[in-house]
Symmetry: C2
Subunit: 583 residues, 2 copies
């Protein structure tokens, strides 16, 4: 029991020197990757850069105690940082203490929500975000974040939460462009892009193992940071209008209590919920993918608790909402992290950095951070996914495009809400008009197939229908009307046989409809039969009146039904040579 | 084409003297039933009684031209009248001209919505009201309406839209109780109740045909009206504090234009939509039931247009929203109505009544109308339905009780909204945790069944799973986790075969999950196979990358899959004596 809520009690017992070494190597690599990221995502959230570092210490220790994923690397991520900026940007001005307080409250609220969801085992809620919705929102957010960096490249200030805001902000402020910022930005973006695309093949060509090359490439942002810091310091670029990070307090802050302000909490409720859900989806996706590669297991409900605990820790550290980062976790995994202890060592590394390197970061140009954000978020944008979803299903493709458009124009919250409603509406609509096949017997066999697709034999006076959908309220009336229409069209029908192998569930509305159909058919002199009803469906039907009222029989197979109702035709068809048939 | 929108062009050509006589007889009976109903439901809507008569003339003529149901009897009904009272009670005081104007606007708006829905063929929207929701809302509304009549029985004035209001209103006003009103109420309720329950057996015993007895019993309210009018006139009860209907203008009103007031329309939008949907559900249910009895067909989309046209006509007549009444239509059907012309003759009957009997209605006690409403709405309350839904499905039963409770406490609008959300949520939740069976071969057969329910043989290293649900976003991750868990538990597994006969649809999220499962299994050294994939599902999968990436094969039958992957075991099991098996 204790082990379920504190997975560390499980893996810590088997901790060996070899595991320690593997975890340490991974931790060093992730620390190098995490420091520029945490500064950058803090800037993206509109917060002082040191908060990104604070978000990367205690929360990582908490995750090491509570988490069930071995390679998951907790910390600030792009999408959650943008959602944070949007949520608190409505409540307070950037740079004010209220803004930071709101961010802390958001992390705390989101942490509590995740914790509660974990204890109540509500992780399944996230499954209501369909793949096209998540993919659409993430791609659109990537575009928004990338677009939002342009102001830093130009060295101007402008709001940038949505596409219209970005466009308007750039239009108004383009006159204030700072040439030095633009130069730094172009160089940094070009370097980072080349490191991602061009450096790896070179390293591999030089004889490095592809895995090692991949890890080294991830250190490129540190190089960009170091070079531009030196450049800015040597040329005193801060005197030439280049925005720099400025003074960062040294060391770790004292723990803070999140503000007790019910009014603020109420305003932050919906953003916190969405941040919790999106953060959890990101965490669980990467945790599951990496666990499956090694046939390990994660506990989705415990992951909610671990993520909740980490966010509460982020709030106590005076920081903003965080989650498990995809790219960072993959690097951790590839670098050989064997247990969650790797995350704890990373935390120690970041904590050390707050004491040592912070003075050097004074001259770090904001444009450099913008460049690292720009290059890394472009990988979030997956426009190919639209094409592949669209190819597979036009309606889902359109829903995805709508989700993206709404996210770009109105922001992430509205985008997610619209996407979820569209996904559910689409499925209800599809389910409300199920595929129904009229069946006939395939000559020479006991099989019954769609009369429109196959050459089959039907018996006069008997209507065989196969409904390819569970029966429930959105399609109950449709099925009812369909049967009435068929028997009104052909008054010779005396038997209706519903073939039910594809019916996984019958709800109370559909039961009512079936009882009504049975009664109406009885009045019209037609008997209703069922065939191939599944076990669980049958279990439930025995608790209803349908079986006692049914004018016909329930047959184990559709062949049994026809063999009883039209024995001669069925036998003759069965005896026809098999070579006449085609499927 | 013209015939589709004007069904009268179809049936009027075959109109004979015999049809005319049948329609006339039905029309006389329905007119006698409709006059007290229209006065009563107008009072229920909080409107002057003559508006009920106006609502029963031109709208009925319009329905005769546009409707496709032969026995449907249009006019004021209880539930819609209560919804009207609630909707406009929020906007204006009863008895003011604004109140009547709002009712007219509501009828107009609802008519336009129905018309638009009909032209766009959106009738399927109503299928999203599940049976437990409709049944719960109707029962709760019946209770609310019955409870709302108590104030008329006591002869006091009080608001009565929700249960708390009714309780509070009676508590405050019980001191003003009028003894004469109470006596009239008790007598009228007792008489009407006896007519329903006791009179019919007596009439049948006297030798009347049951159908005729049934129709005669429906005339009881007219008797109650006549007797209490004479009583009130003879004893001048209006001078003794008994509320009477008072002066009713003679004849029909001039046509009015509905108010052009965008502010009012905006406020009435949601109520009008719900009135449209509930009204349509009531109309279509009775129309379909009665049509099916004679193997006739109705056109659900044209019914929307007909109901819309009738409501616009109600607005032009200065009246309130109407729909097809259940009890009235059944009487019309039983009385032999052969075409929609019966409705037109009823309209003429009501129009004649507005010129002839209105002066006599001056002394009609409101308590009498309340008694006719009370006795007739009690048939709406079907508490047995809760029990039967609950027996069939606990979760749907609870959803129904919640819908009823919310309707009673907060009103019909909130009740419907909560009910729809609960129904959809329930199905999503159910669908998110589908039944998945691990399969084994039934000895002596080619059948594969659940290893937990049947004595079956399984092949080592092969996991056979049958998923009893379409694969879509609410269950995509659940299935993914389930497979990962299984292969993590048993590392000897080398093949996973998904048996797909119950999968009616695979959406883009589930496709993504299957591709992910396939890739993860590949990395873990496990091959994934599919068996018995349905035609329409396969058609769609061929447009995806899954089939090219799939590490295993797609087999026509599950037996084929196992015969290929574990030929010896499959053959040996097949050859075992059939007498060893049990299903």
């Amino acid at each position: 029991m204790l082990k379920r809520y504190f997975p560390i009690l499980g893996w810590a017992r088997d901790y060996t020197r070899a595991t320690f070494e593997a975890d340490m190597i991974a931790a060093v690599i992730v620390t190098i990757m995490l420091i520029p990221q945490s500064l950058a995502y803090s800037q993206l959230a509109g917060l002082p850069p040191e908060l990104g570092l604070y978000a990367s210490v205690i929360p990582l220790l908490i995750y090491a105690v509570l988490g069930t994923s071995r390679p998951l690397a907790m910390g600030p991520v792009a999408v959650i940082s943008l959602m944070t900026a949007t949520a608190i940007g409505d409540l307070a001005l950037r740079g004010t203490p209220q803004y930071t307080t709101a961010a802390i409250a958001l992390a705390f609220l989101s942490g509590v929500m995740l914790l509660v969801m974990g204890v109540l085992r509500l992780g399944f809620i996230t499954s209501f975000l369909s793949h096209p919705v998540i993919s659409g929102v993430i791609s659109a957010t990537g575009l928004l974040i990338a677009g939002g960096q342009i102001k830093h490249f130009l060295g101007v200030k402008a709001p940038s939460d949505t596409l219209p805001e970005i466009a308007d902000g750039l239009w108004r402020n383009i006159g204030q462009t700072n040439a030095a910022s633009v130069v730094i930005s172009i160089l940094a973006v070009a370097f980072l892009y080349w490191a991602r695309r061009g450096l790896k093949p070179v390293l591999i060509h030089r004889g490095l193992a592809p895995r090692l090359a991949d890890i080294l490439v991830r250190a490129a942002p540190v190089v960009a940071v170091a070079v531009t810091v030196i450049l800015a310091w040597a040329l005193r670029l801060d005197k030439h209008g280049v925005a720099v990070v400025g003074t960062i307090p040294r060391g770790m802050p004292a723990p803070t209590l999140p503000p007790f302000d019910p009014g603020l909490w109420k305003q932050l409720f919906m953003p916190a919920l969405l941040i919790s859900i999106i953060g959890y989806v990101e965490t669980i996706s990467v945790a599951q993918t990496l666990a499956a590669k090694k046939r390990q297991r994660i506990d989705p409900d415990q992951e909610l608790i671990a993520l909740g605990g980490s966010n509460i820790a982020a709030a106590v550290s005076g920081a903003f909402p965080i989650t498990g980062g995809f790219a960072r976790s993959v690097v951790n995994f590839e670098a050989g992290a064997a247990t969650p202890a790797a995350g704890a060592y990373t935390a120690v590394g970041v904590a050390l950095a707050t004491f040592t390197i912070t003075p050097a970061l004074y001259f770090l140009p904001q444009a450099t951070l913008a460049a690292t954000i720009f290059v890394s978020v472009l990988t979030l944008v997956d426009l190919g996914a639209i094409r592949s979803v669209f190819t597979y299903s036009k309606s889902e493709g359109l829903a995805m495009i709508a989700t993206m458009a709404i996210t770009l124009i109105y922001g992430v919250t509205d985008g997610i809400a619209a996407g979820v409603l569209l996904s559910i509406g689409l499925q209800l609509w599809r389910s409300s008009r199920p595929h129904v096949a009229e069946l006939g017997q395939v000559p020479g066999t006991e099989h019954f197939r769609n009369i429109l697709r196959h050459r089959v034999e039907t018996a006069p006076g008997i209507l065989s229908l196969r409904i390819d959908e569970s029966l429930w309220f959105p399609n109950a009336r449709y099925i009812e009307e369909l049967i009435y229409d068929r028997i009104a069209e052909d008054t010779s029908i005396k038997h209706v046989v519903l073939n039910c192998p594809a019916i996984n569930h019958i709800d109370a509305s559909a039961l009512e409809a079936l009882e009504e159909v049975n009664a109406q058919l009885r009045d019209a002199g037609v008997r209703m039969h069922l065939s191939e009803v599944k076990g669980p469906v049958m279990d439930r039907l025995t608790r209803s009146d349908l079986l006692t009222q049914l004018t016909g029989q329930i047959y184990l197979t559709h062949y049994d039904a026809l063999a009883t109702l039209a024995p001669k035709m069925t036998r003759d068809t069965l005896e026809q040579s098999r070579c006449e048939t085609h499927r």
